[in-house]
Symmetry: C2
Subunit: 142 residues, 2 copies
DNA sequence: GTCAAGATTTAGAACAATTCTAAATTACAA
DNA sequence: TTGTAATTTAGAATTGTTCTAAATCTTGAC
């Protein structure tokens, strides 16, 4: 995976947001930076806390707004596991999520290239795969 | 899919709950009946409303308790899509969920028989596949 | 059968996650 | 500029879920 420069990130952001009719604002930039900086699938609340460190005036509602904007523009994905808060992930490559039921960590996992056969007439937009189990660390610790 | 008789359902319930150290109670039976009766992936709230029709004294907390008991005993699955309420599904065959982004309906879809290859050390318990898109009805209506 | 121990249910409060509201600010385009 | 629309903000409101303590029900030991 090639790392993008900060400037490239910004251009990418502007383009992707623009294509969805949205503007690049300092808040959206900041929220996206937070996602890129630590890719541990944070919840909206966690993004809020991290974003506040460098932008103390940012509000809760804005974080939700920004996250929605990023998702709509194809810059981030929502990850919903169980009944808890939704998590966010800036990795847009096709991948699934492995959730360790012991320690709670969420891992990105590559998926076998394949198409999902659907009954006639169904048009798939995208799909999410969530795998529950035990991660290597927790498995060996048992 | 073979339909089970009511009596068989009850026996199945007792066995599965018992194996998890749980009792079969009228409430759990009722909640399970609700799930079996209309397999449209209702939320806990919807299950609550439906269960009340024949058991008016049932409480909110009990519905959550019963649904958890059913999930723990392998009699139902939780379905989490997006940020909304969790849905419940009594279909325990391996299948995925297709969510129509237009009308909101959730469909069970069969999956190709296959194993999910995981990096070394990861132990999968089970996995959930959620597909987003447009259902045949909504697609033709466009 | 009777009783104690533990499981379950209940109403309602509490909590957590998300959305809404209305006012203030900002950006863009004419 | 100047008007229009988008965005942000604080805080209230809403929604979904969990917790609590008391009441009720089951079950197994006697």
């Amino acid at each position: 995976m090639k790392a993008r420069s900060h400037q490239q990130d910004e251009q990418h952001l502007t383009e992707q947001l623009g294509a969805t009719g949205l503007r690049l604002t300092p808040q959206r930039q900041q929220v996206y930076d937070v996602l890129l900086h630590k890719r541990d699938h944070p919840t909206a609340e966690e993004v809020f806390i991290r974003a506040k460190k460098t932008m103390p005036e940012i509000s809760h509602a804005t974080v939700y707004n920004c996250l929605d904007a990023l998702v709509k523009s194809g810059l981030a994905r929502q990850v919903t596991l169980d009944r808890g808060a939704t998590r966010f992930c800036p990795n847009m490559h096709e991948h699934g999520h492995f959730h360790c039921d012991t320690c709670g960590t969420v891992f990105d996992v590559d998926l076998p290239a394949q198409t999902m056969p659907l009954p006639k007439g169904f048009q798939a937009e995208h799909f999410d795969i969530a795998i529950h189990g035990t991660c290597p660390d927790c498995a060996s610790r048992k």
